[in-house]
């Protein structure tokens, strides 16, 4: 089954992806992120046609705890975050620490 890429974020963030042909996007203005970002992410997560969700790393801080956890742990669709040094998409670092017992991403960020 073929799927698509979805982008969630401010209009400035999504415009570039739309230039590359991404047609599934959720524009949430910076001032409205606290109120509307959760709903946008939940809606995209529920869409079976979406295989990859692209978000800015800083936007994850606007999500509620449950939505953030579900988007970070989601395998289909997979979340790929951009910006903020790229320590690994959403919560991956914590997951590595928990599973392996040591912080393998430590070197990368120093």
């Amino acid at each position: 089954m073929s799927q698509e890429i979805a982008v969630i974020g401010s209009p400035d963030f999504t415009t570039g992806f739309r230039l590359a042909g991404v047609r599934k996007f959720q524009n949430v203005a910076d001032s409205e992120k606290d109120e509307h970002l959760d709903a946008a992410v939940e809606e995209t997560l529920a869409d079976d046609d979406v295989g990859i969700i692209v978000m800015h790393d800083e936007d994850l801080a606007h999500l509620s705890r449950n939505v953030r956890k579900s988007v970070e742990q989601s395998i289909e669709p997979t979340l790929v975050t951009l910006g903020a040094g790229g320590a690994g998409g959403g919560g991956l670092r914590d997951q590595i620490k928990r599973a392996i017992g040591i912080d393998l991403m430590e070197d990368e960020n120093q």
Binding site: A20, G51, I75, L92
Partner: protein, 230 residues
């Protein structure tokens, strides 16, 4: 827990069988966990390369779109973005790494030529084309990152599950079984000692009874003799 087990030979044999199975399972799961961690380390190296490439691509794409916005105006860029007709698609296949099914993502229509973009040659400028190019490259990196990061997430989930199973066997199941085994062995030894003691007591009682019977017989045998002598 150990006190719940009935101290019988049958239960002892059952516990010994379970210990053997659990020890074998523990060793196998430990090997699986170590194997998964080694596979994960390979994927992690790959992921770190992909991540650094992704950051570079994102920075370049941002730079290009900012340039396009500055030169052509935000409205022109948004207009070009809204005109796109061809959209990138991804198809997912799977491969198996030590029992963990990880995805292999294939993409189509990510890189497009100018005439495939839909906004027309006259309606755009070179800067918008460059920005679109940069974002198409970024999308390719994102697809690669998604593939690697999904594999990482799945591997981590499997490592966590295996680790939990190993720990449960090592710190809960096996100690409980050893405790149960020790309890039954002690109880059976105690029963054996009691049995030996009881047998000894019975034997001593029997010997005493036999001795008394013999003495009584002797006494009875002596009685008529004494009577004759009198």
């Amino acid at each position: 827990m150990a006190e719940d087990v009935k101290p019988t030979r049958k239960n002892l044999m059952e516990i010994e069988d379970r210990i053997e199975l659990s020890e074998r399972g523990h060793d196998t799961l430990e090997q699986k966990r170590d194997g998964l961690i080694m596979e994960f380390m390979d994927i992690l190296d790959q992921a770190q390369d992909v991540r650094s490439g992704l950051s570079d691509d994102y920075e370049r794409a941002q730079h290009k779109i900012n340039m396009a916005r500055a030169m052509e105006g935000d409205v022109a860029v948004r207009g070009a973005a809204a005109a796109l007709k061809e959209y990138p698609e991804i198809t997912t296949q799977s491969k198996n790494i030590m029992g963990v099914v990880v995805p292999q993502i294939e993409s189509s229509r990510v890189k497009k030529s100018i005439d495939q973009r839909g906004y027309g040659l006259l309606g755009s400028s070179a800067r918008i084309d460059e920005a679109a190019d940069a974002y198409e490259e970024l999308l390719e990196s994102i697809i690669l990152a998604a593939e690697v990061e999904t594999a990482m997430k799945k591997m981590l989930h499997e490592i966590e599950t295996t680790k939990r199973r190993v720990n449960a066997l090592e710190f809960k199941v096996l100690p409980d079984l050893y405790e149960g085994q020790e309890y039954i062995e002690q109880k059976l030894e105690e029963q054996e000692r009691e049995e030996i003691f009881r047998m000894k007591k019975i034997k001593a009682k029997k010997e005493e009874e036999e001795k008394e019977a013999k003495e009584a017989d002797k006494a009875a045998a002596k009685e008529p003799g004494t009577a004759t002598a009198d």
